[in-house]
Amino acid sequence: MRMLVPAILVLLSLLVAPATGPTFAAPARDTLVYVADISDMISLDPAVAYEFSGILVAQNAYDTLVAFEGEDLTTLKPRLAQSWKITDAGSTWKVTFTLRQGVKFSTGRPLTAKAVAFSFDRVIGLNKSPAFLFKDVAGLKEGDTKALNDRTVEVTLPKTASPQAFLSVLTFTVGAVVDPDEAMAHATGGDRGEAWLRNHSAGTGPYVLERWDSESRAVLAANANYWGAKPKVSRVVIQHVPESSTQKFMVESGDADIAANLTPEQARELTGKADVKVQKGRLLQLVYVGMNAKHAPLDKVQVREAIRWSIDYDGIVRSLLRGEARKVQTIIPEGLFGFNASAPFQANVARAKALLAEAGLPNGFSTELLVPTGPAPGGVRWADVAAKIQSDLAKSGIKVTIKETAQAQLLNIYRAQKGQLVMILWGPDFPDPDGNVTPFTDYAAKSIAWRNQYEDATAAKLAKQAALEPDPAKRKALYKELTDRILHQGPYVILYQPTTRFALRKSVQGFVWNPMAFAEFKTVSK
């Protein structure tokens, strides 16, 4: 007993002691603290990273030949390549890049055309998650990228690949240029430096990776050899904070400058606070309901059209999502080249009933809606969106049974073509309309059209034609024709395009969210 009281006092003093000293430092003016759930970070090697947080880091440590800047994903901007041209070489496409002069890697070595060829071949050779963008989308093999001289790179693409889509792919981390000497100096067992680049960087980007502690933080420091304007903050700490309430506390107390995963309610609570502001970010995801086109009565175009005319889209966006989304009804999201703003559908029970009667179903029918568990993009639960659809469809006489299933299990059913109505989301793999159009329209691509058993030879042909069209004006016209066709013929109810939101300290300026789900910290100041 004599020992217990002092022991308690010691414990309590240990607990309270830290509060009395200035040990806990607030972030300095030249350090930006970005809090987010980064549990998906598994590698920071641009040839391997294919997760949101890994891409966020790699996009800031590496440069690509071309880039989309800020929110605009329609205008390609020069980055490491000063200029580029696409030429029709008969049986192939040749894409030739002229590199910017005077660019150095963070290691101090100069950027050369050979480094570009090495980096592209490395992606294909390592064959990790993002490799399909080169191998399948662009049809590239090792050796197809050649250094013509120190500053000229030539990429040979097969005629089956779209040069425009290839350029879009190049804006993504898979197109990052890695210092070959640095990578190979750390190579083990033929891994071309993969193990080392998992938690080190060797790029030309505005930042270098200072450290990465798994499930804890990644720290970026300004690259002293950066070729462009010096970044405004010299250190960026990307701190892992999985719980959004904790993120909110941190940004409110000034321990974090930007919080990335707030719920819509939390963002609303912050509105009007003196030190914090809320900023929206666009996403390229589409939340949609797929309708199995071979499952009666969904095989009838009128029935699918009746479903589209039954849903109260504005209600979903305004009431359910409280404006955290945009009403989009075509298969290319807003922000991508070829976006078609046409949104004719709204809740019209009379029209839906008439269409059902035309299909021989005047009394409606019963069907099953498969939805994932957990939260949907935009901050509501999937089940809540499903309940709204259920009540909307009931008004037209369509009786829906909601089946809530874990996403992994739902995908098993969906991929096996066994769904009736399936609610899920889709985001393109690369910022080009083909990243959505081929999956949504080409049955042979074994993606979304296949899962919904939608075989439309005309749509598939148009998709291929649009993908390969090098002239932007003609390409745009082809996408207009195709998206208009799918809008009414296709097996999809596109519900909405969600937005995301960030809480920022008032002093933070220049933060722009790229809809491909990353931000370039070099423009941010505080």
């Binding site: 414990l11 806990f24 506390f249 107390s253």
Partner: protein
């Protein structure tokens, strides 16, 4: 005694085997595909097949299990499907944070729970007893998730007495890693500022995690003490004219600790399960977060690894508790 311990170690092996069989087969009857979770919705069939082959998931489950056991016998826990690193490396990285948090929470539970239980029993039905019982009721019934957020909201956000989430200040560099336990590393490095920083970060999560066990231990100590305090030998001790403090500490407490020890052992399990939520709220990079992320992504090798390590810890703790019984109670003899 040593024969007893050897026997127990052998039975621990059987327990671990049983746990691995159960976990393995439960994990494999889940009607979802870990490969799809790992590769995402966009994966093509050939990619899925290649992945399945690379991780041996294309073979029948019993063969997968035998292969797993064979590797396990060589100390190989396999490669995580999610992080694509050896599970042993992952465990080595995340384990120390949880050991530090769990250890601190256990300390909180012991240092608060046992004295509170004793004082409650000694001052039965007085104001301290009522307050302590109320506290114990609250501690046992408040959800960890809620408690963590409230503590964070009050002591970090409002009063700013404690630092924010994580194990160390965001803008500072933690001490050089030796043991992985930041408090220990800071102490070894004789870095007072780092020690205060690490302790400050540890306080709220340790309190959050430890409060449930504190409550359970306090209640158990109280009831055990009450039972003992009315025993004849205690009355005899008092009749002999011993000081009340000596009666309580030397005579009553030692016997009251026997049932309490069981609870202390069991509370280790609740600390591990509570660690998942505590680590989420306080952004604590530990095993709990790793286990959750692995389970959600159906990462079998990682789930197996975590389960085996936790089962091993649990059995070791239970063995230690049993050995302590023998020290406390002369009637208990092993061997």
């Amino acid at each position: 005694m040593s024969r007893y311990i050897l026997g127990r170690i052998a039975s621990m092996g059987l327990v671990l085997l049983g746990v691995s069989v159960l976990t393995f087969f439960i994990a494999h009857v889940v009607p979802a595909d870990p490969v799809l979770v790992a590769l995402g919705e966009h994966a093509r069939d050939d990619q899925i097949e290649a992945y399945r082959k690379a991780y041996g998931l294309d073979r029948p489950v019993p063969i997968q299990f035998v292969t797993y056991l064979g590797r396990l016998a060589r100390g190989d826990l396999g490669v995580s499907i999610r992080t694509r690193r050896p599970v042993a490396d992952d465990l080595g990285e995340f384990m120390p944070a949880t050991v530090e948090l769990g250890g601190a929470a256990w300390l909180v539970a012991l240092l608060l729970g046992i004295p509170a239980g004793i004082l409650s029993a000694v001052y039965k039905d007085r104001i301290f007893d009522h307050l302590s019982r109320l506290g114990a009721l609250a501690g046992a019934s408040l959800p960890v998730f809620w408690l963590g957020l409230v503590l964070l909201g009050i002591f970090y956000y409002r009063l700013q007495w404690f630092p924010g989430p994580g194990r160390f200040d965001i803008v500072l560099s933690p001490p050089q890693v030796r043991s992985g336990l930041l408090v220990v590393d800071a102490a070894l490095a004789r870095d007072g500022a780092a020690l205060r920083n690490a302790l400050g970060h540890l306080a709220l999560p340790a309190l959050t995690l430890g409060l449930f066990s504190t409550a359970v231990i306090a209640r158990m100590t109280r009831s055990a003490m009450l039972e003992v305090l009315y025993q004849d030998y205690v009355r005899t001790a008092r009749a002999k004219g011993l000081q009340e403090r000596r009666v309580i500490v030397l005579h009553a407490l030692k016997n009251a600790m026997i049932p309490t020890m069981t609870i202390i052992g069991i509370s280790f399990g609740s600390l591990l399960s509570g660690a998942v939520l505590t680590e989420t709220i306080f952004a604590w990079p530990g095993l709990g977060r790793y286990a959750t992320a692995s389970a959600v992504s159906l990462d079998f090798p990682a789930v197996m690894g975590v389960t085996l390590v936790v089962a091993l810890l649990y059995t070791v703790v239970n063995l230690l508790v049993d050995l302590i019984y023998a020290r406390l109670d002369p009637r208990v003899r092993y061997g």
